[in-house]
């Protein structure tokens, strides 16, 4: 009798033990965070792009976790500063894939860094959402590589269309030493004839240059020039714009989306009045008409970022935001961190309304944006405004 009772209680005890083991195991698995890897140019020449990207990712991963995480698990951001250097980016990407064993990667501030990493993510079959601009990243399409920002080709197209509407047909280019600058310049030089535009002058400046009046003087004295286009980002375009004002050049000045931030206006000062560039909706979030599909997302991001970080938003942070949100949506859709399923889910993103545009990905289009994602903006009264 007693032994039977003992056996039963042992059995019961074992059952309880077994049950709790399963529960703990389940809980342990549930506790393991979903790792999102990132390598961004937080310092270095592309810092004006990488820093808001880093801040945005950190902030929103925190927010998502506070709201309960994804698939019942917390998100963990593993990020490294690649400082705009392709070699560092490659090593850090390897570290993310092999050592940190992340589930997906969002990053690659500059084209050089992204291109260096592509062979790695393809070989490792790791979903990768790039935050860099050049069109070569997704042309030809690579299975595991996606891209958030508008391409430099799109920027050229948008600008040329605007130039056409203003009857400008002879322009000058002035660009900097960066990959972004040169890549956009090359794309514009491929397209200008299609829009009936002649490039009559083509000047460049160096990194760390403090004065571009020499180049601009040459441009000013070139016969027939009607407008100037400055592909670039960071300090260079700000100085170009200031020198532009200093030399009293009256022609229209177009900047690129590389300086699509309020910071540019602050740096360039009064000379920025009248400058136009193709920018994402988020820059003029509050001015978007009420029926604009991007309005609510853009306004929410703008207010959140500005109140939390006490600094102005930029479209680059916006790309990081869109990248993160699309990644999270893909995770939810795939129902797991299985890389192949997540990749398929990203590719199936349709009609996703983001801060920087509405994304429609497909097997042949891993960028998902069209020209409507770019708005033509102009600086008026020290602020970005929509050109109607």
């Amino acid at each position: 009798m007693k032994s039977m009772q003992a056996t039963t209680s042992i059995k019961r005890g074992l059952a309880v033990l077994a049950a709790s083991c399963v529960l703990f195991a389940g809980a342990a698995v549930a506790q393991e965070p979903i790792k999102i890897g990132a390598f961004l140019a937080v310092t270095g020449p592309a810092a004006s792009l990488g820093d808001p990207e880093q801040k945005t990712l950190e902030h929103y991963v925190g927010k998502i976790n506070a709201a309960g995480g994804v698939l019942g698990r917390k998100l963990q951001l593993v990020s490294y500063d690649s400082a705009g250097d392709a070699e560092k980016a490659r090593t850090f990407a390897k570290r993310l894939i092999e050592q940190d064993k992340v589930d997906m990667i969002v990053g690659g501030t500059s084209t050089g860094e992204t291109m260096a990493v592509i062979p790695l993510v393809e070989a490792a079959q790791m979903p990768f959402i790039s935050l860099a601009g050049a069109v070569v990243i997704v042309e030809p399409v690579k299975k595991w590589v996606f891209k958030m920002p508008h391409s430099d080709r799109m920027a050229c197209e948008k600008i040329f269309i605007d130039m056409q509407s203003r009857k400008l047909s002879k322009i000058a280019l002035i660009s900097g030493p960066g990959g972004f600058d040169k890549s956009m310049r090359a794309e514009c030089l491929k397209l200008n004839k299609q829009y009936g535009i002649d490039v009559v002058a083509d000047e460049t400046y160096g990194g760390g240059d403090t004065d571009m009046t020499a180049q601009l003087t040459k441009i000013k004295n070139t016969a027939g020039v009607q407008a100037v286009l400055n592909p670039g980002f960071g300090q260079g375009p700000a100085i170009v714009t200031k020198n532009y004002g200093q030399l009293g050049i009256a022609m229209p000045l177009y900047q690129s989306h590389g300086v699509a931030s309020k910071e540019f206006i602050k740096l360039a000062g009064a000379a920025a009045e009248g400058v136009r560039l193709p920018g994402a909706a988020v820059l003029v979030a509050d001015d978007l008409p009420a029926n604009d599909p991007q309005r609510s997302v853009a306004v929410a991001y703008k207010h959140e970022y500005e109140s939390h970080f006490k600094s102005d938003i930029s479209t680059f942070g916006g790309h990081a935001y869109d990248g993160l949100m699309i990644a999270v949506a893909a995770l939810k859709k795939a129902g797991s961190t299985d890389k192949a399923k997540v990749r398929d889910a990203i590719e199936a993103t349709r009609g996703y309304v983001g801060v920087d545009g509405t994304y429609n990905m497909s097997a042949t289009d891993h960028m998902g944006l069209d020209l409507t994602a770019f708005r033509m903006l102009e600086v008026k009264g020290g602020n970005w405004t929509l050109v109607k």
Binding site: D51, G245, Q246, E263
Partner: protein
Amino acid sequence: MSAQFLQFLLTGLTVGAIYALVALGFSIIFNASHVINFAQGEFVMIGGMATMSLTASGLPYLLAIPLAIAAAALVGLALEKFAVEPAQGASVVTLIIITIGASIFLRGLALVIWDKNLHPLKPFTGDTPIAIAGATILPQSLWVLGVALAIVLALSWFFGRTLLGKAMLATSHNRLAAQLIGINVRMVLFLSFGLSAALGAVAGILVAPITTTSFDVGVMLGLKGFAAAILGGLGSGVGAVVGGLVLGIVETMSAGYLSSAYKDAIAFVIILAVLFFMPSGLFGNRGGERV
């Protein structure tokens, strides 16, 4: 044509004046210790960034600028005290690596204290360009040229007329002899760092309203200042100034008349050519070599 030339010249002089100030900083430290202080560019950065913070917190320029210069001078003195002095007796190459480490350290410190963004600085007397015979010049550029000239004059008075200045000059000519006649060469070295830092800071403050400032503006300016100091001949104050102006003008003229893409390369080719014919720079000591 000549308006264009004048524009290039004015721009070249402005840029050159900045290089000259940075080059002077290199020269002064080199004179006292035969060390090239690779952290010189960081003093330029500190000048601009400190002024930016101080004015952002409400101080007027009249207060912010001297404070920023003092801050940079303090950093220079600290650098000498804590990094260079403990390494006394080490080879010159080792000291150079120490200053490189210091430059990285200071940049990292600036990154933490401030941020990675670019910051504008208000020009001293406004932004309206001044027209001169078809060319334009910013009021800030006039400040750059004027202050640089004043500093050069002040330094030549200092080195030529004051006891301390003469002591520093004596140390640069012959350290041992200077020690023998009672000059405290350690103090000279200490003060050289402070003076060079102040000079760098002034350059940074002058140029920041034109170019904006950030935690890593020092890298390029330091490099160009070094090139200017070498071009003019290390150890020569006149050489530093001439080197700086020549470098600035060559750069701008190359950009204007030759190729803007290659302007830096052309400037370096010219420096190499000068060194080929004058291995000690334009005004450098054609010293004999001790066997």
